[in-house]
Structures are given as structure tokens and as C-alpha cells.
């Protein structure tokens, strides 16, 4: 039941935050923070649970819940939390707190409704990470879209309508393809066992003809690949990111993209091992193309947020690469990359958002020499840039290294090509530092007063993320142990 509460708390918190606006305009953010902390406490309570194998399932789970929902089609309210889910939910709640921090002073208009949308998005995401019934999974998958759409459409920047619409149509259409795939799978279960089922464990028993399995698998891949995103389904992401408010970008880059990767690990490969293995060379090629092409495109951007958005696509390429290599090291690497990228990308988007808040532009051509004016911000930016480029000792390095190490065992040429991405990453990361923070500071009429350094509160948020990245880089075992629990049974 505690799993259901994990989600419900955020739904209720969203409503509470909305209502709180009518009491005081500054109250919603406090309410949102409180409910997120309640969630965090619930979650920490779960960490000490002893793993067990549920009667009708396989694998080790910390918490498991199954209740009847729509018996006509064998749909259950089935939730489960294992090591992988736990890591993802932890990341979600952590970045949720960070996002509230990012929005703290930026969102002044209609704050109640903003935090309502923020918490409902997070609730949908947590639902995705713990749902085991495929119908329920799809339900949550879609639930997170509308509030995210509203966040971009209401609080976004100059081109918000276009970006929000594009985001929605891409994810919705690919989602419907996934729905068809899910229903085709459930129908095949009906043909073989005489009843519809959306149960994760039961669906693993369905025997499919190779061609059918491939088509269904592709349906899932398109759904997840759009969210991930992977070339050529990535074009919504730069628009959505550059137009979203800072907190929206943090959620998008830090968490929403991870739902795609999570779906691949949890559903696509375990449900269709053979079809996925056959498809792996293509998926890994797409991953390598994502890594290199988006790194190249990132380098050509002048819009700071678009640049970071493209680097996100590039980094998520390592995740796809690791997942489709499908051996322990590679998938561990993918999971570590998801976590580390969640923090580093969120921090970079916060910096970009912070800069935009201060000088009202994201155009790097109008920036330069900021180190002199905002030294603290510059140091923080340098830290997260070198984290993103894969400096040993920080989380991203561990993830990308493991992903490449595992992928090397599966496909040598593609891994060699993909590894070049690390070189490109250094180029664009340092390029940003040079363009924005180094060089000569030119006085700009718009900047003058408003370009102030990070406040103490902001520093606390960045510091939290720094600690996370250093922890992941120095002692990754604490995370690897958790995900090993899941991967042991999946692989």
C-alpha cells in the first residue's frame, strides 16, 4: 500500500498546492516542498525493506502490490519496487526537490497551478517507475504528459505554444503506437492462455512468432525511443527544452527522458529478448549516430539551452548503447549514466535558466567574461561541464565507461565509433565555459545590475547535486548494488 501512497501523496500535494495559492501566493512552493519531503521519507523507509520473491512473479522485489482494477480485461493495479525502480524514484524525488528550488523565485505568476502541474508530472513519473501492469504503466505514461504540456505552454518562453504542441504530439503519437503494441501482446496472451492479461510476469510467458515479436517490439521501441530520445525521433526535445521554464527543463532532462530508458530495460528487452537481440545492431547504430550527430549539432548552437538539450540526446545515446548490448556491465553503465546525467543535465539547465533569469537571454553570442562578475556560478558551471564530459571521479564517467565496456563485448566497431563521443563532449563542454565565462567581460546595458552571483540557497541546491555526482564517481558500488538486484533477474 505504501507504493500507492508514494504516488497519491504527490497527487494530493498537487491539489493542496493549488488550493494554497488562495491563502497566500508564496505558500504553494512550501506546500510542494513539504509533500515532496513526505515522499522522500516514505522512500527512505522502503530502503531497508528485505527483498522477496512474490508468489506469482519472479525477481526480487522490495515492495509489491496487486489489486483488482478492471477484471474484464485482466487489468490489475499492480505495482512493484525493486532496486532499479528505487534508484529511479529516488532520482525523481531528489530532482523534484531541486525543481521546486529552481522555480522558487522564478515562478511568480499562478504559482499554485504551477506546483500542481509539477507534482502531478512527478506522480506520473513515479507511477511509470513502479507500475508492473502494462495498462497501468501506459496510464501513468500518459498522465505525466498533460501537466508537462501545461508547464511549457503557460510558463514557457517566446515560442512556447509551438514547443509544447510538438512535445505533446510526438509523445502522444508514439505512445499510441506503444498502446497498440501492448494490446497486441495482451491479445496474444488471450490467444494462448484464453484470457487477456497485462501482467508483466504473465506476459513474459507469451510465445510469439519471430515476425510478430519484432513488430510488437518496434511498437515499444518507438514509444520509448521518442521519450529517450534517440535519433531520428529527437527533434521535439531541443524545442521543448529551450522553451520550458527552468524547473520544467530540470524535470524533462533529469527525469522524463529516463522513463524511456527505464521502459527499454524493464519491458522491451525482457519481454522480447530474441527480437531485441536481432534489432540490437540497428538500435546501437542509432545510439552511435545520436551520440556523434547530436554532439556535433550541439557545438553549432548559439542558444545555451538548445546546446544543453542536444548534449542530452548525445548522452542518452550511451544509455541506448548500453541497454541494447544487454550484458551486466553495459546495463549497469546505462543505469549509472541515467542517474549521473539526471543530475548533471538538471544542474546545467538550472545554470542556463539562472543566467536567462538574470540577463534575459540564452544567446551565447551576448555572453562572455562572466567569470569576473559571477565567480561562484562560473565554478559551478565548470564543475558540471567537466562532469558532463566524463571526467573520472564523477558519476558520468563511471556510467559511460561501463556502458562502453559492456558494449565492447557486444559490438566492437560501433563501440569504437561511439567512444569518439567522449572527445566531442570535451569540445562542446569546454566551448561553453570559454564562450560564457572566460574571455573579456563586455559591459552590456541589460546585464549590469541584474547579473548577480548565486545566492546561498541556490548554492545549497548545486552542492547537493555535486555531492551526488562525486558519490556516484567515487563509490558507485552503492548504486550498482541496488540495480544489480534487478539486473540479476532480468539478464
Amino acid at each position: 500500500m505504501i507504493l500507492a501512497w508514494l504516488i497519491l501523496v504527490l497527487f494530493i500535494g498537487g491539489l493542496a498546492a493549488w488550493l494554497a495559492e488562495f491563502v497566500d501566493a508564496r505558500l504553494p512552493r512550501v506546500v510542494a516542498l513539504v509533500f515532496l519531503l513526505i515522499d522522500a521519507v516514505l522512500l527512505l523507509g522502503l530502503m531497508n525493506a528485505t527483498p522477496f520473491v512474490p508468489a506469482e512473479g519472479s525477481g526480487e522485489w522490495l515492495v509489491y502490490l496487486k489489486a483488482e482494477w478492471l477484471p474484464r480485461f485482466g487489468i490489475y493495479f499492480q505495482l512493484g519496487l525493486d532496486g532499479l525502480s528505487l534508484l529511479m524514484v529516488l532520482l525523481t524525488v531528489f530532482l523534484g526537490v531541486i525543481a521546486v528550488g529552481a522555480a522558487w523565485s522564478e515562478i511568480q505568476e499562478r504559482a499554485g497551478f504551477f506546483y500542481f502541474n509539477l507534482l502531478w508530472t512527478l506522480a506520473g513519473v513515479i507511477g511509470v517507475f513502479v507500475a508492473l501492469d502494462l495498462f497501468l504503466f501506459f496510464f501513468f505514461w500518459e498522465v505525466m504528459l498533460i501537466p508537462m504540456y501545461l508547464i511549457i505552454a503557460i510558463w514557457g518562453h517566446e515560442n512556447k505554444n509551438y514547443a509544447a504542441m510538438k512535445f505533446f504530439i510526438f509523445t502522444q503519437v508514439s505512445g499510441l503506437l506503444m498502446l497498440i503494441a501492448i494490446l497486441a501482446l495482451a491479445y496474444n496472451h488471450y490467444l494462448q492462455f484464453g484470457a487477456f492479461s497485462f501482467d508483466y510476469f504473465q506476459l513474459q510467458n507469451v510465445q510469439l512468432a519471430a515476425s510478430t515479436a519484432m513488430l510488437i517490439m518496434l511498437g515499444f521501441f518507438i514509444g520509448f525511443g521518442t521519450k529517450l530520445p534517440t535519433v531520428p525521433l529527437h527533434t521535439w526535445l531541443p524545442d521543448a527544452h529551450s522553451q520550458a521554464p527552468t524547473a520544467g527543463s530540470v524535470i524533462l532532462a533529469g527525469i522524463l527522458l529516463k522513463t524511456g530508458a527505464y521502459g527499454l530495460i524493464r519491458f522491451t528487452l525482457p519481454l522480447f529478448p530474441d527480437a531485441a537481440a536481432e534489432f540490437a545492431p540497428i538500435a546501437m547504430t542509432l545510439a552511435a549516430v545520436s551520440i556523434l550527430y547530436c554532439a556535433k549539432v550541439a557545438f553549432a548552437q548559439t542558444d545555451l539551452k538548445r546546446l544543453i538539450a542536444y548534449t542530452s540526446v548525445s548522452h542518452m545515446g550511451f544509455v541506448t548503447l548500453g541497454v541494447f548490448a544487454w550484458n551486466e556491465q553495459a546495463v549497469q553503465g546505462a543505469v549509472m549514466t541515467m542517474l549521473a546525467h539526471g543530475l548533471s543535465a538538471a544542474a546545467l539547465f538550472m545554470l542556463a535558466g539562472g543566467l536567462q533569469y538574470r540577463i534575459h537571454t540564452r544567446d551565447m553570442r551576448e555572453m562572455g567574461g562572466f567569470w569576473a562578475r559571477v565567480p561562484r556560478m562560473a565554478v559551478v558551471a565548470l564543475f558540471f561541464s567537466i562532469a558532463a564530459l566524463g571526467m573520472p571521479g564523477l558519476g558520468n564517467f563511471v556510467g559511460e565507461f561501463l556502458a562502453l565496456l559492456g558494449a565492447f563485448q557486444a559490438n566492437i566497431p560501433l563501440t569504437v565509433v561511439a567512444a569518439l563521443g567522449l572527445v566531442f563532449a570535451s569540445v562542446y563542454s569546454l566551448w561553453v565555459i570559454q564562450k560564457v565565462f572566460q574571455g573579456v567581460y563586455r559591459d552590456h546595458p541589460d546585464h549590469g545590475e541584474s547579473l548577480v552571483d548565486l545566492s546561498r540557497v541556490e548554492m545549497v541546491f548545486y552542492l547537493l547535486m555535486m555531492i551526488g555526482l562525486v558519490w556516484m564517481g567515487m563509490y558507485p558500488q552503492s548504486f550498482l548494488d541496488l540495480s544489480a538486484m534487478t539486473l540479476g533477474s532480468l539478464l
Binding site: 478492471l70 496510464f139 504542441m165 504530439i169 499510441l176 494490446l183
Partner: protein, 490 residues
Amino acid sequence: MELALTLQDLVPLLPIEVVTGFVVLVMLLIAWKRNHTVSCAVTILGIVLALLATLLVLPFAGQQITDLLVIDNFSLFFTAVVLATTGCIAVLSYPYLYNLNDEVEEFYLLLLIATIGALIMVSSNHFISAFLGLETLSISLYAMIAYPVHSKEAAKFPLEASVKYLVLSAVSSAFILFSIALLYAQTGTLQFTDLSVATAGAEVRTSYYATTLVLLLAGVGFKLSLAPFHMWTPDVYEGAPLPATTFLATVGKAAMMVLLLRFVVASGLLNYASVVTVMGVIAVLSILGGNLLALVQGNLKRILAYSSIAHMGYLLIAVIALGSASTTLGIEAVSFYLVAYIIMSLGAFGVATVVSTSEKEFDFVTDYQGLFWRDPWLALLLTAMLLSLAGIPLTVGFIGKFYLVLAGVEGALWGLLLVLVAGSGIGIYYYLRIVYRMLLQSEVQQEYREAGWGSIGSYVVLTFLLAMLVLLGVYPAFLMSMLEVIAVSV
């Protein structure tokens, strides 16, 4: 042919009799003394009593009343749906007609007569009763669409809409009649269930039968506004007063679809490959045409008109799926989607009706700019209805789409399903455009006219619809099990 009506046969027909009785009562009341409030209240009372009567006759389900009507769980379910919808429309009509500078009471009379037609249609498995029901519905609708025509300042163009609907509807009725005659000439029966037996013999030529059925489909396509027979829809929707539009879009469509469903199941229509192909083409044209044309509209009524064309196309997929695999799932899918479609159309038109009156309709998307910040509750209602039409989870539209896709998967209609995905993708654009418009800052303060306490009822109806929308979107188990039962009875 057994046409003798016994006294026992009258019992299962109680809902229809109650409505007919109230038609007479409302007419007499108008003749005695005109009073808008009384007419409306008596109409609603009649509908509520008819709903109760529907519950009462449940134990008598599963009877053929003469050759013309069948009272089974399926027809009773849709009897209840039609009655509930009409009740909602009656409540919504009151504030709308409040300021009309003409006699308003007959509108409720027409509403009740049209309802009788719809009730006959959902209970019919014979061409004669089907046609009579259809004409009763249509003829009342001509008058309802033209209703404010004598008013000095009618909001829209009721006469144009009515004439357009009259001419095209009459033509399509002629199509239907002609195909019925052709069918009768070959088979010698007008009973749906006998058709499959009669045509099973080798003496009926396939091409003849298929041609006849395609003629019939053309007529039905007009009534359901399926492309390429959809031309009248946007004009009639826009020109008609809102309550008439709502009735046409909900009860009018649903009754025809129920009839089609019964006919398809009973007649073995889908055994003809050419008929299936024609239906597939109609579905594709409706989905793509409806959605694409909706993209360029600026008028809410026209957008909903085109979107209804697309939704009828989606529904047709499930009807086609009846031909293969298990029939019951297809029937459940169509029934559920019809209920979903009625809830969300009623809600969307209802929001427009609440803010409009017979002299001034707020039916442009721009009229709703900034509604979120002016009237959050109304904006929330409209947003929920639009998101449901787009098929987003937490709403009944999502479960409806789930049913349709499941039926399509079972029938292995992959091509049609891909068209459905494409159509839904396009659909999101124009639904969200309205939502986005409501989120913008309003430039001018729209002066919505309201009819005092009369619109409280409308708000109650809309809130009820929202509750149903969410309830059936989150926990539709009870409706699912109900549909499982009624689907067997067809």
C-alpha cells in the same frame, strides 16, 4: 408476420409509452397556458419517469414485441442512455431559450418527439420500425434546427441549416428506402435476423446483395456524417441553435450507430468482402478528412462537427472488427465508445450552451481566450471534455479508445489502427489549440449573458458529466461488466 399486439406486450414498451404520454401532456399544457418553466419541468419529469420505467421493465428484457420491436438488455441500455442525454439537453436548453423573443415551449415538445424516434431506433430490428423511428427523429430535428427562425435576432442561421439538413437527410432517407426495397425484392423479408438466413442460399447473387448494402451504407453514412457523406455536418452544426446541435450530435448519432450495429450483427453484412472494403475506405476518409479539416476551423461548433466525423470513423473500425474474431468485444467497444462520445460531446457543447443564449452564441475559439483565469471551473470543464475527445488518460475518452484499439487488434485491422493513430495525432493539435487559447491572457472581457438561477441546472449537469468522465476514465469496471452482459443479448 405477427403484428397482433397483446396487453402483455405493452409492458416492456413502458419507457416509450411514458415519453409518448408526456408528449401529449406537454402539448395540452401549452394549449392551456404557455409557461416556459412548466414546459421544461414537465419534460424533465417525463424523462425521469421514463428512466425509472426503463429500470422497471428490466426483468422483461429479451422479448420480441411483434415483428417490429425488440426489448433486450442492449436496447434497454441505450434507451437509458438516450433518455439521460435528452434530460441533460432539456436542462441545458432552459437558460439558452430563456430570452428568445418567440414562443419557446414547443422546443421541448419537439425534443420529446425526437426522443421517441430515437427510442424506437434503438429497440428496432426490423426495417419498417427502423425507418419510422429514423423519420420521427429527423423530422423533429428539422424543426428544432430551424426553431429560432422567427426571432428577430437569432444568433445563427437556423433556416439555412434546417433546409440543408432537410434536403440532404431526405435524399439519404431515399437511399435507405431504395436499398430496403431492393433487399425485400430479393429476400422477401424486412426482419434483420431473417436476412442472413435468406441470403445464405445460393440463389442470391453476391454482387446484387453487396451493391444493395453499399447503397444502404451510403444512406446511413449521411446520417452518421461519415466522409464522403459529411458535407452537411459543419454547416448544420454551426447554423443550428446549440441545444439542437447537441441533440443531433449525441442522440442522433448514437441511435443511428446502435441501429447499424444491430443490423451488422444480425444480417451478416460483413461476410461480403466488398462491403468490408467500402466500410474501411469510409472509415479512413472520415478519420483523416474529419481531423484534417478541423485543423483550419476557428469556430468551436465547426471544430466539434469535424471532430465528430473523425470519431464516427474511429467507431466504424470497431464495427468492421465485428466481422472477425469475437463479436461481443466489438459490441462492447462500440457501446462504450458511444457512451464516452455522448458524455464528452454533451459536455463540450454544454459549456458553449451555458455561456450562450439564443441571441448571442459564443462559438468562436477566440471567445474563450483567457477563460482559465476568468472562469476556472468552466475552463476546467471544457478542458476535460477536449482532452477526453483527444483520448488522454484519466478521462473516459481514453478507455473508449482503448476499447476501439483492442477491437481493432482482435480483428487484425492494422492498417486502420495506424490511421487511427495518425488521426489522433492530428486531433491533439486542434483540441490543444483550444486549451492553449483558454490559457492565454484575455484581451477583452467577454460579456457572457446568463439566465440567472436557470443556469444553475446547467452547471449541475456539466459537473455531473465531468464526474462521469473522470469516474469512467479511472474506474470503468462497473460499466464494463454491464456491457459484457448486454453485448450477449444482441
